[in-house]
Assembly symmetry: C2
C-alpha cells in the first residue's frame, strides 16, 4: 500500500510539529509545508529538507524576493497530496476549506476553528470511527483534547456523573514577545462557563462538564484542576487504574520531584523529546484524591504539542488507511515516542 | 465608657495594618506595638507616633543598641492593655498565649495558628456571638475568611448545598525578596483537598466545602474560582441580591475595566485607601453565572488586609464592649472606610 501524501499548510507552533510527526510515520509522506513568512521559521524547514511552498501567490512573490527557494504555491502542493493538515491562523483557515475541497484534498483543521466549519470534531480515543472516510474534520484545541481524554475514559468506565474544572492558562507561548502576555497578575475569563466545556461536547455530546478559565503569569503550559462527581463511590486505586490504562495520559509524581509545570518540562527535555514536547496529559498521580463519590485531580496540558498525535490519527481516519482507532493510536504513539510512564517505578532495586 | 486598651505584638504585614485600624476606632486606644526588628519597619511605627516595645528582653538589647527609643518590653506593654492582637510569625505566636493569660490580657491570634490553640476561630459575620467574653480567639486566614463570608451568607439564605473551589494563590507578598516566590510556573499544592475547606469548618462546622490550591507566578493577591451547588434553582439576580446585601463583599465589574487582579489594586490605590488595601471580598459581578441550581463565580482576596476588620471586631467581641456583631461590623467598616460599592453605578447622568 502506498503512503498517504500529506501537506501541512501553516508552519507555526502546531504546523511544524505536525510536519515532524508525519515524517516519522511509516505510512505517510510529507510532500511539503506551506507558509507566508520569509524569516528563520521557513529557513529551518528548508534546513530539515522539507519542500517549502507559498500559501498564496502574494506570499510567493515576497518569499522569492527574500531568496526562499520555493517548491511552488499551495495550489501546486494540493495537486500532489491526499490530505492537508491546516495549521494556519484563525480566520485564514476557514477560507481554505473550499480551496481544499475544490482540489479534491481531504483536510484537517485545528481547534481555533469552529465545529461548524467541518461538522466533525476529533479526539482519536473518543470518536475515531465517526471520522472514517469523511473529507474534513477538526482536531479540537489542547485544553478540549485533554478534557475529552480524561473525562471520556471515566465515562467509558461508567464512572462519570459530572465534572467541573478550572483551567489555569498560560499567558502566551514561550517564544512570543508580542505584548499579548500578562505579568504579575491573574485574569479571569470574562465569560463563565468558558468555551471548553461545550467544545468537549462537540466530541462527546452527553458529557456533563462545565469549565471556568483564568489566565496566569507564566508561559509554561496549562494546568487544570478538576472536581468530578462519580456515578458511585470508588477507590483511589480504581480511578488510577482507569487512567493508567488509557493511552495519552501519563502520570506525574510529586514525590519524584515533579512539583510544578516547569519541572515537568525540564523532565521532557531530559527525556530527549523534540522541542521538549509533552504529547500526553500529564496527570499528577500522588496528588489525585477520592472521597466517596468525589474525585479531585490536577493535570498539565502542554498546549504546543498535545494535539499533534491526534492530527496524525485524523490523517489515518479521513484517508481510511487504518480503520481501527486504537491501532492508529498505538502506531502514532510508537512512532513519536509517547510514553505510558515517564519515569517507570522500579520494582527491583537496580543492581 | 473608657476605651479598650489594645496592644499589637508583631508589626509585620498584618500587625501594622491592625495598628492603623485600631487608631481610627473611637472605642479603642493603641497603647503600643511590639516587635523584634531594628530596621525601617519599626522606624516607620515611631514616625507614626506609635510607642514601640521590644517583644523579648533579647530584642530589647538589640533594639536599644540600634538606637530605637523603646517604651519598654512586651511585659511592660501587657501591664497596660486589655487585649493583644498577636501578629507574630507562626510558632512564635503559640508560645505567647500562656504569657498573655498570665498577664490577664485577652488575645487574638491570626490564621497561621491552629484552631486548637484558642479553641475558637472567628469571622465576624458568622460567629461574633460565640466569641463574646472569651479570653482568646483566632481570626482565620485571608482565604478562609473569604470562604466563610461568601459561603456563609449563601448558607444563611438557605441556598448552599455544597461548594467546590480552586484557589489560585499569589507566589509571595509584593514586598518580599527572599526567594520564597516562584516565577513562570504554576505549583499545585501537594495535598488535595487543601486545608482551607476544613479551616472554614472551624467557623461553620456544617459547611460542605472542598478546596484545591495552586500557587501562581504573581504577587497581586489571590483569586478563587467556585462551583456552588444550590439547594434549589435560583436566578442570577437573587444570588447577586444576597451578596449585595452582605457586608465586606463588594462587586468588581469587568465592564468597568476591572478585568484582573492588578486592575483592582490600581483602583484601590486610586480610591485613596491606606496602602491600597482591599478589605472586602472583591467579587466579579458581571462574571458570575447561574445555571439551574448551579452557581459559578470568581473573586479576589487581598491577603494582606482582608483579616484586619475581622481583628477589630474580635477585639470588641472578646472585651464585650459591643455585644451585637452587626453593629460592630458596621462601626468597624465606617471607621476604616469599607465600601459596599467600589464604583457606584450612576442612575442619573452626571449634569
Amino acid at each position: 500500500m502506498s503512503k498517504v501524501r500529506v501537506a501541512v499548510n501553516g508552519y507555526g507552533v502546531i504546523g511544524k510539529r505536525i510536519a515532524d510527526a508525519v515524517v516519522v510515520q511509516d505510512d505517510m509522506e510529507l510532500v511539503g509545508v506551506a507558509d507566508v513568512v520569509t524569516d528563520w521559521r521557513v529557513k529551518v524547514a528548508l534546513q530539515k529538507g522539507y519542500p517549502v511552498f507559498a500559501s498564496s501567490p502574494e506570499a510567493a512573490q515576497q518569499m522569492q524576493a527574500a531568496g526562499i527557494p520555493l517548491a511552488g504555491t499551495l495550489d501546486d502542493l494540493l495537486k500532489q497530496v491526499d490530505v492537508v493538515a491546516d495549521a494556519t491562523p484563525k480566520k485564514v483557515a476557514a477560507a481554505n476549506l473550499e480551496k481544499y475541497r475544490a482540489a479534491g484534498v481531504k483536510s484537517i483543521f485545528q481547534g481555533g476553528e469552529k465545529h461548524n466549519l467541518t461538522g466533525h470534531s476529533f479526539v482519536a480515543q473518543a470518536n475515531y470511527a465517526t471520522a472514517l472516510g469523511r473529507d474534513t474534520t477538526r482536531v479540537v484545541s489542547c485544553n478540549t483534547t485533554s478534557i475529552v481524554r480524561t473525562l471520556g475514559v471515566l465515562k467509558d468506565a461508567g464512572l462519570l456523573k459530572r465534572a467541573r474544572g478550572v483551567l489555569v492558562r498560560r499567558a502566551t507561548d514561550p517564544w512570543e514577545s508580542d505584548h499579548e502576555g500578562i505579568m504579575n497578575t491573574v485574569v479571569p475569563e470574562q465569560h463563565i462557563p468558558s468555551h471548553q466545556g461545550p467544545d468537549a461536547q462537540t466530541v462527546i455530546p452527553e458529557l456533563d462538564v462545565v469549565t471556568m478559565a483564568i489566565k496566569a503569569s507564566h508561559t509554561t503550559s496549562h494546568l487544570h484542576s478538576w472536581y468530578v462527581q462519580l456515578t458511585r463511590p470508588a477507590s483511589r486505586d480504581e480511578i488510577l487504574d482507569v487512567f493508567y490504562h488509557t493511552p495519552r495520559i501519563a502520570f506525574l509524581r510529586m514525590d519524584e520531584g515533579i512539583v510544578a509545570l516547569n519541572s515537568t518540562l525540564e523532565m521532557m527535555a531530559d527525556l530527549g523529546r523534540p522541542r521538549g514536547d509533552m504529547w500526553e496529559v500529564g496527570l499528577w498521580e500522588d496528588n489525585l484524591g477520592v472521597e466517596g463519590d468525589e474525585l479531585f485531580y490536577n493535570y498539565q496540558v502542554y498546549n504546543q504539542a498535545i494535539v499533534v498525535p491526534e492530527t496524525i490519527d485524523a490523517i489515518r481516519a479521513l484517508t481510511g488507511i487504518e480503520t481501527d482507532g486504537l491501532r492508529s493510536i498505538a502506531k502514532t504513539d510508537q512512532a513519536m515516542g509517547l510514553l505510558r510512564e515517564f519515569v517507570p517505578v522500579a520494582t527491583e532495586p537496580v543492581p
